[in-house]
Every structure is written in C-alpha cells, then in structure tokens.
C-alpha cells in the first residue's frame, strides 16, 4: 500500500513518543551520565571521561576481564540455544497435526511455558533438577550419573540449556507453524503430481515459506537469550563459581550489588550497543529479504 505523506501523523505518534521517551531517554541519559563520572561517595561526582570505557574494554583489568568472560559466555550460550531451538522448533511445527482436537491441545501445551513468569521457570527447573526432591536429578543419579548442577559447571550449563530449550522452543515452533499454515493446499497437490520427494517439498515449499518467520524467531531468540537474567539467576545464581554468570547477571551484581555506578553504566552502554548493532543488521537483512521477494513478483 502506498503511504500518503502527511506531517500531521506526528500528532498520532506523539503520545507514544512522549511516553517511551519518558521511560527510555531519561533513564538512558542517567546511564550515560554515570558512565563518564566517578564518585567518592556522598553523591559527589566528578568527570572521568572515557576512563571507565578504557578499563572495560581492556581485558587485562579486573573489570575488563569480568566483562569479556561474561560476554563470551553469553555469546556461547546464545549460539548453543539458537542452534538447538531453531531446528527443534521446525521439526515440532512440521509434526503438528493438521486438524482435530489435537491441534488445539498441542497449541495450548506449546504456549504454556511461554506464559510462566521467568522466575517460576527457574524455580520449576531448580526443583526438577535437584537430586533429592526433583524427578530429573533423582532419576539421573539413580541411573548412575553423578549429576549435580550446584557443584558441577558442566551440569549447571546443561541444566540451563535444557531449561531454555524447554522454555522457548515453543516460540519457534509456533512461529513456524503459523508460516506453514499459510501454504495453500494446492502447492502440495502440485508437488505430488510432479512426484516430488518429501525432502524436496521441505526445501522448495515449506522452508521458503517459513523464512520470514524464522528470521523473526532468530531475532527474538537472540535478543532474549542475550539478555537472559532471571532463569539462570534462580537456578544457579551465576555459579558454580562464575561459570553461568551471563552479562545481565554480572551487570546487576555490579550496579545493584556493589553499587559501582560508573563501571556498571559503561558496561550497560557497550552491552546495549552490541545488541542494537546485531539487531539492526538482522532488521536490515529482514526488510531487504522482503523487498527482494516483492521485486521478484512473489507474494509479499
């Protein structure tokens, strides 16, 4: 649809602009402000320039070391959960029944983990994985594995990854399911007349139709896994040691725990910048992909 140029449209956007500016710009300015100042306490601040940023981006300092360690940890976590959840989501979406009561039932069960408060998700898995009262931990220990997510970093990582897969694979599955539903039956009939194999149908019909929603899914999953805080905090508290301390956990420790405002603010700025750059790249790729398809005469 061609859009009409009309500057009065700003009036309609103004309320949103004002409200979001109030809750985004003012706090952001506070963060910028803290990130260039140092304090001796008593609310007396003085100019520190880019000092905090230099310290943060130098891996040899204590702050820089902590920042980069949690950054790599978080990137590894995001990469692992994305590489599990996207294929799993596609498979589950393909396995959905086409009609009958099974559809409604599966949809409701799939959506259930998405509406559980994040700390309750943590609590569920904290209980589920315990070797004394949790079904998973108890069973694993009975079978002979020495599974203990409180003491063993590898077990802690496995627990958090399985928890995230449990929590968010449904989102990918639901998005893919919506993409699959939009494929007209005629496509499949044409494919069967041509004698196409199942793999060919997946590659030539189903995957291209899901591409758009898959980009949305990857974008959402990257953002949220990169910002993860509550669930690992409840399950492991960032431990054992620092093995599951992701960036948000490190940041909250720094800001609300140690009250190191300058360091925390500098870290916040770099953290946000990384997320926004990655998302901007995603967003551009997504919009361009959409335009390509329209230009090629395909369905938008």
């Amino acid at each position: 649809m061609e859009k009409i140029p009309n500057q009065k449209a700003w009036l309609l956007v103004l309320p949103v602009f004002a409200l979001v500016a109030f809750s985004a710009v003012i706090p952001l300015m506070t963060v910028v402000n803290y990130s260039v100042q140092d304090t001796f306490g008593n609310n007396k601040f003085f100019w520190n320039g880019v000092g905090w940023y230099q310290e943060l981006l130098d891996p040899t300092t204590e702050l820089g070391g902590r920042f980069f360690a949690s950054l790599w940890r978080n990137l590894a976590f995001s990469a692992i959960v994305l590489s599990i959840e996207i294929p799993l989501g596609i498979v589950v979406a393909l396995a959905m029944p086409r009609e009958g009561w099974g559809v409604a039932f599966s949809l409701v069960v799939l959506a259930l983990p998405l509406l559980i408060p994040w700390n309750v998700v943590g609590t569920i898995w904290q209980i589920f994985g315990r070797s004394d009262i949790g079904l998973l931990g108890w069973t694993l220990n009975r079978v002979g594995f020495d599974y203990n997510y409180v003491a063993n970093p590898l077990d802690a990582w496995l627990t958090i990854i399985v928890m995230d897969v449990w929590h968010w694979s449904s989102l990918v599955a639901l998005l893919c399911y919506a993409g699959l539903k939009s494929i007209p039956e005629a496509y499949y009939q044409a494919a069967s007349i041509d004698g196409a194999s199942r793999w060919a149908v997946f590659k030539a019909i189903q995957l291209p139709k899901m591409r758009h929603v898959l980009v949305i899914a990857a974008l959402l999953r990257f953002m949220d896994s990169f910002m993860i805080y509550t669930e690992p905090f409840v399950v492991t508290g960032g431990g054992p040691g620092n093995s599951t301390t992701f960036i948000s956990i490190e940041l909250v420790k720094l800001a609300l725990g140690q009250f190191d405002l300058g360091k925390a603010a500098a870290m916040s700025m770099v953290y946000m910048l990384i997320i926004i750059i990655v998302c901007w790249v995603f967003f551009t790729v997504m919009t361009n992909a959409g335009q390509d398809r329209t230009a090629a005469g395909g369905e938008p």
Binding site: I4, N6, Q7, K8, A9, V13, P15, V16, F17, L19, V20, F22, S23, A24, I26, P27, V31, L94, A95, A104, L107, V108, V109, A111, L112, L114, L115, P117, W118, V120, T123, I124, I127, F128, I133, L135, L136, W166, S169, L174, Y177, A178, G179, Q189, A191, R198, V201, V213, I216, M227, Y229, T230, I247, V252, L256, A264, M272, C279, W280, F283
Partner: protein, 269 residues
C-alpha cells in the same frame, strides 16, 4: 495426508511430554506435605492435601502478591494498547518526517536489556514518587510493551484497505468517531493479539517489577523468592504458589488458542 513428517506423532508426543513433565512435577509437589516431599520420592501424592493452597489464600502477604501483579499487568496492557493504536495507524497509513527512524528507535527499546534500566528506573520513579506503586511497574513495562504493540497493530491495520477510511470520511465521520466506530472493530483480533502479548511480557517479567517495588506493590513472583528464603524451604507452598502463577496464563491461552499461531507471527504471515 500428504507429505507428513515420518514418525511425527512420536516426535510431537515426546516433545509435549518434555514440556509437561516439569510442570506436572510442580503440580504434584503442591499437593504433597513437606514431609512427603523431602522423605520419599513419589510420582503422585500419597496423601493429597490442600494445605499449601490454604496457606496462600488465607495469608494476605501471599494473596496480595497476586492482586499486585494482576493490577500492574492490567494497567500496562490498557496503557500500551491505548497509546499504541493511534501510532500504529499513523505508521501504517502515512509517511512523515523521520517515520522509519522513529519506528526503529521504538523497536530498539524492545531490545534494551532490563538489567540496564533497573537502576535508572529506580532513581526516576523514586524521584517522582511512584516507587512501590503498580503504576511504576506498569509504566516501566511500557518500555518494551508499547513498541511491541505498535509493531503488531501496524501489521493488522495495514491489512485494512484504505478505501474504508476514505469512505468513512466522505460519509462525514470525524477522525475519533471513525477510529472508535469503524477501525477498532475491524482490527479487534489484532487488538486481542497485542493485548495478549502485553499481558504475557508484563506477567513474566520480574527484574524490573522487583526493583521498583518493596512492600505495597510487591508482585507475587517476588513474594515467592523472599518468603521462601526467610522461612526455610517450604517446598509445598513454593510449589503451590508457582502453580497459581501458571493459572492466569493458562486461562488466557485457552481463550486465544485459535489465534495463537497467527498472533505469534505478529500478524505478518
């Protein structure tokens, strides 16, 4: 059926069991006594008890948590939809100075980590006297819910042909009257989907909700973490409280089950 995935029933069944098992375990625990939880490993309650739920429904420090949570979630949903609707209409129909930048800027707030905003929000809402009220949490959650609502509603409004607007204006409808009488009924399912998402993201968020409240507006999720650590581990009550936080979500899902798939694609499939 053509081109079904081989073994799809088994795959789906396994996945659904994987999703339900931890939830079942929580429900199972909520009907047990603490003695049974810690001393034996039973797959279902041997002596089912409602005592854990009774604790929650009779103790104001527990049930007020639910009221607090629900009140800021509802305020936030109402605010987000009311503000987002006109903006979504503008983005869908008109081109204006800086529209694309504004849209990306709005979306970039959806990407802002809550951890970054926790401390500044604390300062801001303390300064304007809203700290420890549902309004503080509701306004803070607008940060990520309004951009999302604008995005979803823009998709749905773009699906309404512009001829409808023009006809209405020719018929002498004023803009507000057109908006309420004609446009809103047409995008009712979109409003439902957007409200569902606002509800969802406000309901599940804890970091901001916990930072911005202390006593009077404390959300149920925060009540869970604090009370339990103070009173030793009362696993049964913890489980019951957890089950009760799942219930509102489950009810909402049941009502929107036919729109879920389309809703999760944000009206863009």
């Amino acid at each position: 059926m053509m081109y079904a995935l081989p073994g799809r029933r088994v795959i789906l069944a396994l996945f659904l069991v994987f999703l339900l098992l931890p939830i079942y375990w929580l429900v199972n625990m909520s009907f047990k006594t603490n003695v049974e939880i810690t001393s034996t490993m039973t797959l279902w309650p041997q002596q089912p008890t409602l005592a854990n739920y009774r604790v929650i429904f009779t103790d104001p420090s527990w049930y007020s948590g639910y009221i607090n949570s629900l009140s800021y979630v509802l305020i936030n949903t109402l605010l987000s939809i009311t503000f987002a609707l006109p903006a979504a209409y503008a983005f869908s129909r008109y081109r204006f100075l800086g529209d694309k930048h504004l849209f990306f800027w709005l979306l970039s707030n959806r990407m802002a980590p809550a951890a970054v905003f926790a401390l500044p929000f604390f300062n801001l809402y303390s300064a304007i006297g809203l700290f420890d009220t549902p309004w503080a949490v509701a306004l803070a959650h607008c940060l990520f819910n309004i951009p999302l609502a604008v995005w979803i509603l823009e998709g749905f409004i773009s699906g309404v042909p512009r001829e409808i607007d023009e006809t209405a204006f020719l018929d002498g409808y004023s803009f507000p009257r057109f908006f309420v009488k004609i446009l809103m009924p047409l995008v009712a399912s979109g409003i439902g989907v957007a409200a569902f998402f606002c509800f969802m993201f406000s309901w599940v968020e804890l970091l901001l909700a916990r930072t911005l409240t202390s006593v009077n507006a404390k959300p149920i999720a925060a009540t869970m973490t604090r009370t339990v650590s103070a009173a030793g581990m009362d696993w049964g009550v913890l489980a019951a409280a957890g089950v009760l936080t799942i219930v509102p979500g489950a009810i909402v899902i049941w009502y929107v089950r036919n729109y879920i798939a389309r809703g999760f694609a944000l009206g863009r499939v």
